[in-house]
């Protein structure tokens, strides 16, 4: 046993080389459904970076297995990069193309530039979904508001990359939200977070009271 152990120890390199990472060249999916991409690698943790707008990804820290990315996107072609690391050394990034609804291939307008991952634990990608703000009158919440916000479908929206939070009217307006006079409360406004600013998208809509209404929010806002 001692001999075997010694051999194993000597067989291990004293430094860590980043393991290779391989992705399929193309992955096909349909809009409105999840697309999964699995990386082949001996690395323990894989980081994913969408390279084109429109590709929504469930944050990898919410998934048990970071070697699989779960994505959703409207019709189109999207590039997705992935890399792993050993110690301080990142692997070479690999890139795959996500084809949704059989979108026709288009020649890349620019040569894909290699991603420049940080040397150690990279931060998860920024959320690509809406930031839904449920706005209610000032003061404690009405029981109907609490009931509506308790619907399971909000959790499903979160898994699709959206963010959900509530604010009283005064606090929502303090954030700069445009809630015109006469708007019925409670309502939902949608924000797109861009860097250190948010952009309000569409008009306020009534707070959903059913799961199906919650799931339809991204379309209702647009």
């Amino acid at each position: 046993m001692r001999v075997v152990l010694a051999l194993l120890l000597f067989a291990s390199p004293a430094w860590a080389e980043p393991p290779a990472l391989k992705l399929p060249a193309e992955v096909h999916g349909t809009s409105g459904a999840f697309v999964t991409v699995t990386a082949e690698t001996a690395g323990k943790i894989v980081r994913w970076l969408p390279m084109d707008a429109g590709l929504s990804m469930i944050p990898s820290h919410l998934l048990r297995d970071t070697k699989t990315a779960v994505l959703m996107a409207p019709k189109g072609r999207y590039r997705l990069a992935a890399f792993t690391a050993a110690g301080d050394e990142p692997s070479e990034p690999a890139i795959t193309v996500i084809v949704v609804d059989g979108a026709a291939p288009k020649p890349p307008d620019v040569t894909p530039t290699p991603v420049d991952p940080p040397p150690t634990e990279p931060t998860p990608p920024a959320p690509t979904g809406f930031y839904f703000l449920a706005v209610r009158p000032d003061g404690p919440a009405h029981p109907s508001f609490t009931a509506a916000m308790s619907l399971d479908a909000w959790g499903e929206l979160r898994t699709k990359g959206h963010t959900i939070k509530d604010k009283t009217l005064t606090k929502a307006r303090a954030l700069g939200a445009n809630i015109p006079a006469g708007t019925m409360l409670p309502c939902v406004i949608a924000l797109r977070v861009e860097g250190n600013k948010s952009k309000q998208v569409g008009r306020p809509v009534d707070l959903p009271t059913t799961d199906s209404q919650v799931l339809a929010l991204p379309e209702a806002i647009n």
């Binding site: 003061g139 404690p140 009405h142 308790s150 939070k165 509530d166 009283t168 700069g176 600013k197």
Partner: protein, 310 residues
């Protein structure tokens, strides 16, 4: 100056049993208040919660796994052991390991025995709170009061509040016809709790007052009984450890999210909008702003969006 005497509010003791009834009947607040909305983030693992009461049965099967320590400040010949029953009941509601009873079933609980075996106490109560804080407790449940206001105690409460400690107190069981809730509960340096029925209205015994910070389940609550088994009790004493356990979960969730921990004054403002209104609309003398709502607290764990630019 004579030492102020504080007592247990009159507690309504129900039947006891060796085994628990159905899950939904044990502590109905667990399901009705949707404690799972915070428990999906944390069960309290990593936080220390304090209880100041009549002592604790640290060998009870649902207390032993989470027991961090206890100390007696009453000079009882029983030491920190509970022969009254009130302290063991309240302690298991805060952090008993059975999730049907313990609101924070992963927390570590510390018990400062500041109420004697008969259920009353003096300066030992303050020493017991200090001891819990010295053990690392950041939330301390106090199901006692009614002894009149003390300036020196108020100063202690203020210093703890400013240090970020959350003291949770029972409002008292004097019913609707009293001018205000008990002191210390109505002190601005801590949180005051009213009790609710399972139909989410003010319990008939729960004191009315101008400063009620939130409400919790306080009628027909099953929890641990000294020597093993379980007992049903009613009172703001039962609503208080529920709220303390829940706020312990919230505090731990804030820590895990890397978010700032509000002091008790900020927490009061937060509860004023993140409770669910019941009864008379708005902040009222029955239930304050309403019932403490794990769902609304959990939404605070999401950082604010950046300012809207257009």
């Amino acid at each position: 100056m004579s030492e102020p005497i504080y007592t247990l509010p009159p507690v309504f003791r129900g039947p006891s049993a060796d085994v628990l009834p159905l899950a939904g009947e044990v502590n109905w607040g667990i399901e009705k208040f949707a404690v799972d909305k915070l428990r999906i983030i944390t069960d309290g693992d990593g936080i220390k919660l304090g209880i100041v009461d009549t002592g604790i049965d640290d060998r009870h099967p649902i207390i032993a796994p989470n027991f961090g320590g206890a100390a007696d400040f009453t000079g009882s010949r029983n030491g920190y052991r509970d022969v009254n029953g009130h302290g063991t009941h309240c302690s298991a509601t805060v952090g008993g390991s059975d999730p049907r009873i313990g609101v924070a079933p992963g927390a570590t609980i510390y018990h400062g025995k500041g109420l004697g075996d008969g259920g009353s106490g003096g300066n030992g109560l303050i020493d017991a709170i200090q001891w819990c804080i010295d053990q690392g407790c950041t939330v301390v449940s106090n199901s006692w009061g009614g002894g009149g206001q003390s300036v020196s105690w108020e100063r202690r409460f203020q210093s703890w509040a400013e240090a970020g400690i959350w003291l949770i107190f029972a409002g008292g069981n004097s019913g609707p016809n009293t001018p205000d809730t008990d002191w210390p509960g109505r002190s601005l340096n801590l949180l005051n709790v009213a009790a609710l029925n399972p139909n989410m209205t003010r319990a008939s015994f729960s004191s009315k007052g101008d400063k009620i910070d939130t409400s919790g389940p306080g009628v027909d609550i099953w929890s641990a009984k000294p020597g093993g088994g379980f007992q049903r009790m009613s009172g703001t004493s039962m609503a208080t450890p529920f709220v303390a356990g829940l706020l312990g979960l919230y505090r731990r969730a804030l820590e895990l999210a890397g978010m700032p921990i509000p002091n008790v004054y900020e927490l009061r403002k937060l509860l004023a909008v993140d409770s669910t209104d019941i009864g008379t609309p708005g902040d009222d003398r029955d239930t304050g702003p309403g019932y403490v709502t794990p769902l609304l607290l959990s939404l605070n764990l999401v950082p604010d969006p950046p300012p809207v630019s257009e």
